[in-house]
């Protein structure tokens, strides 16, 4: 006969664990998280492909749809500039228009990627409660799903800039490098905000408000030199600014990012780029992405209960 253990009635069970009992936490070392994510890269690709397929399946225009958002930003920027120039009686330079287009590229990627990524975990709550897989793959894939749009809009900008009458230089490659950094920067934010949105459902609204401010606070519509010396310094110190300003400096103005750039304004010379801003962008991206992964992993054990 096998051993049968019959214990007493439920009421006699202990109702809380002894305090000496501890929990083995999830592995949170960055190297282990990255290793696991690398192992599940096929999953990230599958999620990304699904998102892209679904997004473009219904759109009649196909990838031309990728240009709608950048065009709207450029259009809004143009209206803004025209109003400003009539108020101040100064003409709009063609470089300014080209700059608007170049700077719309990182902005649209950042705001679009972050908006979809922030809601991505909640949108997958059903799956999260049922199946295990590295949860990071969801927000990362939804940022990656914006990559085709980024590439299409970058190519269009590179075609349009010479047409507007601004010659392209090899320094435009700096722009590509900065955009790659921006992807890492966006993923960092996406990891933090997507899990924050799971715990606090109003995060996505707060994000929208912040993005509406951000388009004016960062050099998307404005040029730093319009704000004078102090204003420019403050604007350029904002975390997203180096990524946006670099597109103007490297792609439109044809300057290397390793040298400072000083522009003249009615209020005197204004520094619009300094080499340390490149280092700032690198450090910001690295810290955000690492912190994002660790915060995300630490809280991921609670996702299934929140979702």
């Amino acid at each position: 006969m096998s051993r049968v253990l019959i214990s007493t009635s439920p009421s006699m069970d202990p109702i809380a664990p002894p305090p000496t009992l501890n929990v083995v936490r999830r592995k949170t070392s960055l190297a282990k998280i990255i290793a696991e994510l690398w192992d599940s890269r096929d999953l990230v690709v599958q999620f990304m492909r699904r998102d892209i397929t679904i997004r473009y399946a219904q759109a009649v225009m196909g990838f031309a749809w990728a240009l709608v958002m950048p065009l709207l930003i450029v259009g809004a920027g143009l209206v803004f500039r025209v109003v400003l120039s009539t108020l101040s009686n100064s003409p709009i330079e063609s470089a300014g228009i080209a700059g608007l287009a170049a700077k719309a590229v990182p902005w649209v990627f950042f705001s679009g990627g972050l908006t979809t990524a922030t809601q991505s975990l909640l949108a997958h709550s059903n799956l999260i409660g049922k199946v295990y897989f590295p949860r990071e793959s969801i927000p990362i894939a939804s940022v990656f799903a914006q990559l085709p749009d980024l590439v299409v809009s970058l190519v269009v900008v590179l075609i349009i800039v010479p047409i507007v009458g601004v010659s392209l230089h090899l320094t435009a490659l700096w722009g590509v490098a900065v955009l790659l950094l921006l992807v890492i920067f966006t993923i960092g934010w996406a990891l933090v905000l997507s899990c924050a949105n799971l715990f606090f459902r109003d995060v996505k609204y707060i994000l929208q408000v912040a993005l509406n401010f951000g388009v004016f606070a960062t050099p998307v519509f404005f040029e730093p030199q319009m704000l004078g010396k102090k204003g420019a310094a403050i604007m350029l110190a904002l975390p997203l600014s180096p990524f946006i300003q670099a597109m103007d400096v490297a792609v439109v103005r044809g300057k290397s990012l390793l040298e400072p750039l000083v522009l003249h304004s009615p209020k005197g010379p204004v520094v619009v780029w300094e080499p340390w801003m490149l280092g700032y962008a690198v450090i910001l991206s690295t810290i955000l992405a690492s912190a994002g992964m660790i915060i995300f992993r630490r809280t991921s054990g609670k996702f299934a209960e929140m979702a």
Partner: protein, 410 residues
């Protein structure tokens, strides 16, 4: 690496009701705490309950653990913690090896994608590499039987096709550790048969397996050991059949309710020593007990019930009332019951009860005895009539089929 799986004193606490769900609520709550005002409780927000209480088990290669329990006993929570969907509140979960789960097998499907696209998507979600899915693609499609609909969006699939495809993807995982939950019943009868065959093949492949199912006959067939969960704690552990019996007969009822005034109890039940019997064989059941009644209450009678373990249906019962066996009033007693097991091969339980013929209530249920019946003669249809067929007298040879046909057509 030896695949391995263990729960060590695992506890899991859940909150009933809402927690802070928006910053809008959290900020005032924090401000209130800062200025020292008492926290305003939402209705029921702080009520917690333990879904798992001190649960421990381990599963080694070659072992199949069955988890039995009614709804809300903690089975799903156990599986979710095993599968790393949730973390335990206290205690340790040790796993060694890649875990594959036959749970919610089509959860990752996107309705607008085609069957082909969904195979890759769901495969990746379950932890398969793209190359692995490509290698098994044809097998998956063939098993699910959806060849003609590969490039049709899943939203046009019938629910059966959907489930078949999901099961088929999961069934082609090659995990080190296998977790199975209630996916045994998908699709039509033919597919269920096929699916169960596949599960059996996977479960007996040597990996550590945890199986949760309400189909107790499947637990009995597949598992090497089992536990019965009740309110998040292990109530019974041991051989699958013992656990199933304990579960079916309600663990609480096996101890006599002395405080309810019933001063009679069954102590032990003996049968064919745990050995399987052949269909049609006679067995004797011996039951011992003690009684301390002043007089036999009106209508009370000893009785036996024989149930089909898998379905819990009663296949036979016999009462002392019918057979003139009185209820024991004082002292120890012993009953002998002989049964001829004219039943389908399968698993049965015999339980002694005290039954009130007037109110038609069961007063007391004794410890139950599992009996396994094997096939002796080919057993078809519902009942075993022990037919005996005598050899025909060969004097009158029946006309052949041909001559019969000729005569009819003539």
């Amino acid at each position: 690496m030896t695949p391995y799986l263990a729960f060590e004193r695992v506890w899991k606490k859940f909150k009933r009701g809402q927690t802070h769900d928006s910053l809008r609520d959290l900020v005032p709550a924090m401000a209130r705490r800062l200025i020292g005002r008492p926290h305003v409780e939402h209705k029921g927000s702080s009520r917690t309950f333990w879904a798992l209480r001190d649960l421990s088990f381990e599963v080694k290669p070659g072992e199949v653990l069955g988890i039995i329990g009614s709804n809300g006993a903690g089975k799903s929570t156990t599986l979710k913690i095993l599968n790393r969907i949730m973390d335990p509140t206290a205690g340790t979960v040790r796993t060694e090896g890649r875990i594959g789960a036959l749970i919610e097998v089509s959860a990752g499907f996107h309705q607008d994608l085609t069957g082909r696209q969904n195979i890759f998507l769901q495969g990746a979600i379950m932890g398969m590499r793209k190359a692995e899915v490509e290698r098994k693609f044809d097998e998956i499609v063939a098993f699910a039987g959806i060849d003609d609909f590969l490039d049709t969006p899943v939203k046009r699939y019938s629910s059966g096709m959907n489930a078949r495809l999901g099961f088929s993807i999961a069934a082609h995982l090659e995990p080190d550790i296998l977790i199975i939950d209630e996916v045994l019943a998908v699709g039509d009868a033919a597919f269920q048969q096929k699916a169960f065959g596949r599960i059996k093949q996977m479960a007996t492949g040597g990996a550590p397996v945890v199986l949760v199912s309400h189909q107790l006959d499947r637990i009995a067939e597949l598992c090497t050991k089992a536990i019965v969960l009740d309110h998040g704690a292990t109530r019974v552990e041991g051989a699958p059949l013992d656990c199933i019996n304990a579960y079916l007969h309600g663990i609480a009822r096996t101890t006599p309710a002395t405080d309810s005034g019933v001063k009679i109890r069954f102590d032990r039940v003996f049968g064919p020593n745990g050995q399987a019997v052949a269909s049609g064989q006679e067995i004797t059941i011996i039951v011992t007990g003690t009684a301390d009644l002043e007089a036999a209450p009106e209508g009370w009678s000893p009785a036996f019930r024989i149930r089909d373990t898998a379905t819990a249906t009663q296949v036979h019962s016999v009462t002392g009332l019918q057979r003139g066996i009185p209820l024991p009033v004082t002292g120890e007693f012993e009953y002998h019951l002989t049964l001829q097991m004219n039943v389908q091969p399968g698993r049965y339980t015999v339980e002694p009860v005290i039954w009130n013929a007037i109110s038609n209530e069961t007063i007391l249920t004794g410890p139950s005895l599992p009996i396994e019946v094997l096939e002796r003669l080919p057993f078809y249809c519902e009942v075993q009539l022990n037919s005996r067929w005598l050899a025909p007298k060969l004097a009158a040879v029946p006309p052949s089929a041909d001559s019969k046909a000729e005569r009819q057509s003539a």
